[in-house]
Structures are given as C-alpha cells and as structure tokens.
Subunit: 249 residues, 2 copies
DNA sequence: CGAATACTTGAGTGGGGTCAACGCAAGTGG
DNA sequence: CCACTTGCGTTGACCCCACTCAAGTATTCG
C-alpha cells in the first residue's frame, strides 16, 4: 500500500491517522491469476480496489461480438470507485499478468469519506484522473489519425508507469498482445502488427518479450500528438498552494 | 432546480434540509448564448454546474486539427464534478443552443459533502453515470461497426432525455448539425449524411429542423445494438432496498 | 514432441475519407 | 426588394486506409 500512500501524498500530505485509516479500509488482499476475471459485466460491484502489482483491463463485449478494452488500471490506481454507488457493473475487469489487488468494502469507503473527507477527496481525485483518461480514449478511438493511435497509447502507458516508478529509463514491462492492442485502440490485430513494424522501422520503439523500449521519445510523442495535460500529473508549474489544504474540508 | 431534485430523488428520498442545502449551493444562474464557451481547455475549473435548459457539448481539438466531441450534458445532468479536484480543464464545455446553467463554487460542494455526505454521494452518483457514458463512447468510436454508431447515439440521447421528461412520445429536440454528429462518433460529416439517409430510407427515423422522430424504436435499437445498462437507469428490477439508506452514511 | 497461442506476411476488398461542386434557407445591408 | 453572404445539407468521383481471409512461421507449454 505504500505505493498508493506515496501517490496520494503528492497532492496533499497525509496525516499518520489518515494513512492508518486508509490501510485499515483496504485490508483485504487478492491475487489474480493471468486472465482471471475480478468482476464481470452485470454483477453488482462489492468493493473498491487499488491495484498493487500487475496490470488490469476493463473490457466490454459488443453486440457485434467484438471486444473493446476501455481502460488499463496500473499499479497504484484506484478502481471501481466509479461503480461504488451503482447497482451493476457495465463492464468486466480482468487481470493481464498475475496481479495483486487490495480491496475495501463499500461501507468502509463511505465511512472513510464521512469521517475523513479530505482523504475521501484524494481517492476521488484519482478516480477523476481515470475519467479524464476515458475521455482521451474517446478521442484516440475517434478522430485521431490511424497511425497516431498506437503511439499515443504507448506514450500514455509509459508516462503513467513512470509516475509510480515502474519504468527503467525508457524501458518498461508491457504485457499486452497485439490482439489486446487492437481491441484497445479500435483496430484489427493485423493492422496493429503492421503499425508496430512501422514504428520499429522508424527506430521509435523496440517491443519484444512483453517489454517496450522507447528509442526516441520526442519523435514518438510527436507522432502521437501526445499532450500529458489530461493525465493531470503533479507538475512544478501548478499553483503553489496545496490542492487540498486542511482547512478546505 | 426542481428537475435536479426530482432526478436525484429517484435514488434516495431527499430531506427538506438536503433540498434547501442543494439549492443554496447552486445559487448562481448563467445564461449561455448559442456557441458560447462555458469554460475552455487549460483553464482552471472554478465551479460545479448543473444544466437546467438547453444542451452542452464537451469537446477537444486534437493535434491533427480535428475536433472530437467527448460528451453531451443534457438538462438535469451534473457536470464538472469531474474536474473539481483537478487543476486545469483538459477539454472545453460549449453550449449548443441557448442554455441555462446553475453553478456552485467548489468550496460549497466540499462543504456540502462534509456536512451532508449522503447528498454528496447522490451528486457523485450522477457523475459516475456520466463516466459510464464515457466508457460506452469509447466502444462507440472504437470497435462498433460503422452504421450502428449513429443509431447508438440517437438511442442514447432519446433514453436520457426521456428520463427527465424532455421527450414528446418518440420525438425530441436534437440541436446537432451533421458535422457535430460526425465529430461525436468519429466519422466525417459527409458519411453521417449518407448514414442518415439510410436510416431515413429504412423508416427508422425522421430528422428535420432540429427535431428527431424515432419511427421504429425496436428496429433502431437492434441496428444500434443498444443496451441501456450503462446508463444505470432506475429500473423496476433493481434491488428493493434503497440505494443509499440513511444509516449508510 | 504435438498443440496451442502469438506473430508475420500476402492478396483482395470495401468502408469511409477527401475534394469539389451545388442546392437551399436564413440573414444582412444597400 | 434584391444581391450578397454564410451555414448547412446533398451528391458524385476518386482513392486509400484498414479489414478480412488465408497461409505460414516462431514460440511457448503441457
């Protein structure tokens, strides 16, 4: 959970009490095997989670039979907050590689929000960033020119992993198959293959054995038209006052 | 504001105090002329809003110059909750026709959540439904077959408008141009035109003068592969216990 | 070592994009 | 009242991006 505490602390220092309350709420651990479903479409959500290790995907099967990947929770991300007031899941959450999650029952999160509203707001903030990512994916699957889409996804994953210290320079674990990539950006796996070859041919990336190496970040960023604004990272040029001063709530 | 009170009341009865607190928080009115920007990308969000009349669009200009519409807040919808903990807007919000919004400063919403957590949770719920809509739009712009996309958007708008009583049978105001429709579903305006003609030719819809008439709901729904699960409507088959009993928070 | 899965490559095709022109209605101003 | 403009919708011609089908090649795994 230290990963999560550190991530939340970037926006407002957590008191020892808040850290304790947070850890007590998310006291359940669950290990997911590769491909295991954490929760399926139409099931009632029973908990809020944070991913500690591995990688998850949100997915939905369309009436045409196609699969659409809706999002990729990474370690440190809070997920299912989106559903904790809703009756049923509108999509499934599935583990890519072996993953570890920490779970909190909804009642614990409601209590946490009631008794420590500032901590609740920080958890919400994390969920809000994911919503901004959803919106960016609409643009990525929509009007963004074809070849840029894949580059954009790579830029996003790299930037998000770097935020939680899970990159090694410009290299990082990337456990998606070409079919997965296609379902994430709304293209066929075969076309993803050809686009990958192009990115490789232009010496922008190397991608073998589940590991992605970015060889030319600036060129990749330009090809993607990637602007990290939507990730709402903590940056040095943001307003100097704390996001959530203690007196705010 | 009665529209909003009624909408929220569907999920848990509001006490007279909660209704008063809600109305006091959203005490500012603002009228937007057609095409007027409520808030632009990169600006710091200053308020939470609910739309009372008209229609808004969330949009983003991509590096390619293309415009992508990310969402369509309708009357009764809470918006910008998504941004009330974030430093800058990652997209713009613009009025389609003349629209009226009610605004609450962030401090009022933080206070509301602190002092009336159940009311805060109901507002959050509305935001969560919008997130589910974002996810569905990813699928709509992504892997959904072409002709279904337009039909799906029409089904969604109809269903959401019907929820707040803004439909007249199967007829409703629909102030989007074909260019807007294209930017919403990730297609060119010209192709939208041809798809519209097809839907008209099959006697599924009539669409003139900013008004949409659905002529054959079941056929349109089938063409779209539309399943309203993601709208998280209040339905008769949901769990009988109240979503947010008073003792929950 | 076979079986399954993932990746690669080629050939053929069609959906949807772009460009360009035109129709039509609603303003607008002389 | 008419000439001009502006915005939106419609239609045709052309073409390319990306999909599908199909076959072949690693690579992993029981």
């Amino acid at each position: 959970m230290d990963l999560v505490v550190e991530k939340l602390s970037r926006h407002a220092a957590l008191s020892p009490t808040e850290i304790r309350v947070l850890k007590e709420a998310f006291d359940t651990r669950r290990v997911l095997e590769p491909g295991e479903t954490l929760i399926a479409e139409r099931e009632p959500p029973r908990f809020v989670g944070v991913l500690l290790e591995g990688m998850l995907r949100r997915e939905k099967i369309l009436s045409s039979g196609h699969r659409q990947i809706l999002g990729l929770p990474l370690p440190g991300d809070v997920f299912d907050l989106h559903g904790f007031l809703l009756e049923r899941m509108d999509h499934s959450i599935i583990a890519f590689p072996r993953s570890v999650v920490a779970l909190a029952p909804h009642s614990a999160v409601l209590e946490l929000n009631r008794d420590h509203p500032r901590l609740g707001a920080l958890l919400w903030r994390d969920g809000l960033v994911e919503n901004a990512i959803f919106r960016e994916w609409i643009a990525n699957c929509g009007h963004r020119p074809g070849p840029s889409r894949l580059a954009h996804l790579i830029c996003e994953i790299y930037t998000r992993l770097a935020q939680v210290g899970l990159t090694d320079g410009l290299s990082f674990a990337f456990p998606l198959s070409q079919a997965d990539l296609g379902d994430a950006i709304g293209q066929s796996a075969i076309h993803v293959n050809r686009t990958l070859q192009r990115l490789r041919g232009e010496n922008l990336i190397r991608f073998i054995g589940g590991r992605m190496d970015i060889l030319d970040w600036e060129a990749l960023r330009a090809a993607a038209g990637f602007d990290p604004l939507y990730l709402h990272l903590v940056s040095t040029d943001r307003p100097t006052e704390a996001l959530l001063p203690l007196e705010a709530v």
